[in-house]
């Protein structure tokens, strides 16, 4: 089940493509934190990941952090393996941490359904926005900047006007029960 609004961020401690582990506590200083379910192979992620990098960079000086997590089953989708993540992140020059949730335990705690799918937390790590990055996979057709607007709101001490939107993208690739 997907995390409900106002719920506390579930903890995580996952390996990143940079060779280090990253936990939720590592981002404690960030006044607003976006945890984004992502992957390598999905065309929707590929269409949106440039905007993920831009948002990370644009708000970095105000302490915002974006963390991407890939939980897809790499046995059935080898393009989403940890090694492939490292290569993809290097090729794309991701400015954000990209973490691997191999056993899918973090995904089960947050409950994403799609990639990309955003969970935005305020300084107290309460969920304040969930859903899509914006309203179109085609950057030229975007009219609603959901994630940017929500970040602006949190940084200004307000609740986001839009708090939940349907994520659009590939399904999270869950492991088949053994």
């Amino acid at each position: 089940m997907t995390l409900s609004l106002a719920t506390d961020a579930p903890p995580f401690d996952l390996p990143g493509v940079d060779g280090a582990n990253h936990s939720l506590d590592d981002y404690a200083d960030a006044p607003v934190l976006a945890v984004v379910w992502s992957c390598n192979h999905c065309p929707y992620v590929l269409a949106w990941e440039g905007r993920m990098s831009a948002i990370h960079r644009d708000y970095a000086d105000r302490g915002f952090r974006l963390v991407a997590i890939n939980s897809n089953d790499a046995e059935r989708y080898p393009a989403d393996s940890f090694e492939a993540m490292k290569q993809h992140a290097s090729e794309q020059g991701f400015p954000f941490d990209y973490l691997y949730d191999e056993d899918q335990s973090v995904a089960r705690a947050y409950g994403p359904e799609r990639t990309p799918e955003v969970f935005l937390f305020d300084a107290e790590r309460r969920l304040v926005y969930h859903g899509a990055i914006d309203d179109s996979r085609d950057e030229r057709a975007v009219s609603e900047h959901y994630l940017r607007d929500a970040i602006d709101a949190v940084l200004e001490g307000r609740e986001p006007a839009t708090r939940d939107t349907p994520p659009v993208g590939c399904t999270v690739k869950w492991r088949e029960p053994s």
Binding site: H41, C42, P43, Y77, C170
Partner: protein, 100 residues
């Protein structure tokens, strides 16, 4: 003309692909029945040589040669637009070229 559209419901691109395909067929004045096939399992993906959703074949030929040979899989297919951007559906230009 045989027009086939194969899709997997785990990928949300099917309605958009169908709409674009219908638009291009209409613009070209092609009155073809589009055969729609829902691919529901890995076994069906293998059997149908389904490289991802959506896959469009005109007279048996994939509209995107580059992606046609990807291993069969229940996945969303990656297309590349003429300007280099990634898309979950073929470009209009790609469809028009395949219908020429």
């Amino acid at each position: 003309m045989d027009v086939e559209l194969l899709y997997w419901e785990g990928c949300p691109s099917y309605p958009e692909a169908r709409e674009l395909l219908d638009e291009v067929l209409a613009a070209r004045g092609i009155d073809a029945d589009v055969r729609v096939t829902h691919v529901a399992s890995d076994a069906e993906a293998q059997e149908l040589r389904f490289p991802g959703s959506p896959t469009i074949r005109i007279d048996g030929r994939d509209v995107d040669d580059r992606g046609a040979t990807a291993p069969p899989s229940l996945t969303c297919r990656v297309y590349h637009l003429p300007d280099g951007r990634v898309s979950p559906i073929p470009s209009r230009e790609e469809l028009e070229a395949a219908l020429t």
